[in-house]
């Protein structure tokens, strides 16, 4: 849509003053937010930010490199457990433990990327799915990882700063999220990102053009796993308690849902998708307390369904959203945004 006249226009971070303006508004808004909002909303924002991190990473793999992954909960778990265990057993400081755990996850991503070199479509789906399930199962059996009982996150201190509340953690989490988002955007604009995109569009053609498939496919898995690992490490401190059951297949599917709903192959899309669905997820967890809808659903459940299974409406809603997005707007929220923008830019023509 936007005409690019030279390479530097393609790689620059901000394409226009308007974007700089709105981004600074966003950053200021994010900085003010924890001091004006209620504690619960800060928690919601933290939860969203975690999902944003993971989904940006997943999108680098699924949206840009075209490799499906149904096992991101595995990397997420590795990040979460890695961070906590490094901090409690090896006494690493948090700011060292988090990237190390992310790198461990990236190592596993690299390993998973090796068989993935030769796989595509359903084969890749089942291999990554198997990875996710196996990881959670194995973690649940290791004594140092607290087995089925799970682990409590230790006290979080950085230097002399004690992060006790959600608000403190927000001030740590949001800069990390922004940093990772900008980093992802920059990756996409470099040689590496172009290699990813060429692999997605035509891997054989890319290979004949001199793109090293082995390097870039495993790199895509590793980078994506790194994001998931960082997200997991931070998630452990949002919840302050982790157990193997959290990192189920449903979680992997949720990450994929967020990426798809937001719009694959963009950076803003997954951010929007992750925020929207994470918010919806939290809302639907106590669906009966939503005004009007909750009462109606309660009556409906009592007469036709069961009241004990009412939380499963969450599944119905997400399944419905997935189907509708795929049927009517395969590019997701980002696709809607692009169309609206184009419409108004060219209006009245």
């Amino acid at each position: 849509m936007d005409m690019k006249r030279n390479y530097y226009e393609d790689v620059q971070l901000f394409t226009s003053g308007v974007i700089v303006f709105w981004l600074s508004v966003l950053v200021i808004g994010l900085a003010i937010f924890p001091f004006v909002a209620k504690n619960y909303y800060v928690y919601v924002a933290n939860y969203m930010a975690i999902n944003v991190i993971v989904v940006i990473g997943l999108n680098l793999l699924v949206g840009y490199t075209g490799q499906i992954s149904l096992g991101h909960a595995g990397f997420f778990a590795i990040g979460a457990y890695g961070t906590i265990v490094l901090m409690t057993k090896a006494h690493f400081p948090f700011l060292l433990a988090l990237p190390v755990a992310g790198l461990i996850a990236a190592g596993f991503g690299f390993l998973l990327g090796l068989p993935a070199l030769r796989l595509e479509g359903p084969y890749l789906a089942i291999a990554t799915l198997g990875f996710g399930i196996t990881t959670t199962q194995i973690i649940g059996k290791i004594k140092a990882f607290g087995e089925r009982q799970g682990l409590h996150a230790p006290e979080l201190t950085i230097g002399t700063w004690h992060l006790n509340t959600d608000r403190d953690f927000y001030l740590l989490l949001i800069p990390i999220t922004l940093l990772l988002a900008v980093f992802a955007r920059n990756i996409v604009k470099t040689k590496v990102g172009r290699a990813f995109i060429s692999i997605r569009d035509a891997d054989i053609a890319a290979e004949t053009m001199g793109v090293n498939l082995t390097l870039y496919k495993t790199l895509a898995f590793a980078v994506s796993a790194f994001y998931a690992g960082i997200g997991g490490g931070l998630y452990a401190f949002v919840l302050r308690f982790i157990e193997p059951e959290l990192f189920s297949l449903f979680m992997s599917v949720m990450f994929l849902t967020m990426a798809v709903v937001g719009g694959l192959g963009s950076i803003l899309g997954p951010i929007a998708g992750a925020c929207l669905l994470a918010w919806l997820d939290l809302q639907l967890r106590n669906i009966l307390s939503i005004p009007y809808i909750g009462e109606w659903l309660e009556a409906l459940s009592k007469s036709y369904f069961s009241i004990t299974g009412v939380s499963n409406i969450q599944l119905i809603v997400f399944g419905f959203i997935l189907i509708m997005i795929m049927l009517f707007e395969p590019l997701g929220i980002y696709g809607i945004w692009i169309r609206t923008k184009k419409y108004w830019k060219t209006w009245p023509f």
Binding site: V62, G121, Y123, I126, Q137, S306, N312, F318, I321
Partner: protein, 291 residues
Amino acid sequence: MIDFFQMILSGIAVGSSYALMGLGMVLIYKASEVPNFVQGEMALLPVFIAYMLLSSYGLPYYVAFPLTLIFALFLGCFLEFAVLRRAKEPNILGLIIITIGMEMLLLGFVSWKFGADQRAMPFPISTYDSIIIGDIYISTIDMLTLVVALIIMLILFLFFRYSKIGVAMKATQQNETAAALMGIKTHRVRMITWGISSLVGCVAGLLLSAVLTEPYMMWDPMLKGFAGAVVGGMTSLPGAVFGAYIVGVVEHLFGGYVSIEFKSVVAFAIIVLVLCIKPSGLFARHYVKKV
């Protein structure tokens, strides 16, 4: 040694239900080129319909089960007709996501309706009965599963070889354009394939429901069936059956000799191993991509 044969036999019995799920997945993969994540739930919903017919309406099982199978047939056709066919410019990822969406939708409805409790399916055969052959025990329900699976495989084989619609299905899978030019309504054939796949899955579901009836009962068989199908190459019906039996037997042997704790994940280790050596499964013809 008796332990060994016992494990092999139990593995084959379990593998039979995996094989049925795997067959369903392969049928759909050949028709629509999508790994069908809704396979398990296409069987789950009919199973709970059967449960309702048996327990709430008090129908005898010889009425309820055929009704259930008919319902499964229509459910499969409906899902293809109403959802999958409507996809715009489908790519593999989009189709996978649609099936995952349908899976969540159906699972959500079933668990909303019935809660997460375990139900006692009034199945005509008790799970405690068993047959003794020499020194080996096999429960009657496992034996029944084995026999039914073999019968269904035979029927499918005959269906694809001799019936007109079976041949039409094969033609559609091999070359859709050519099949359409020969006067086959390829959309309708695909829809019927979904119906048949759902039917096969539903048989597996009904047999499994004798042991356990709860909303998540089909997850494990579905994944193992999928694993078996992938080991067998995803496009070959005998391959899927063979792969499913391998998964069942290896799982039991692993559970017996190595570690019972990791029994349920060993299937995925097999897959990764097999896929590393033969990326498109054991039985698939090597597929060369055109650029």
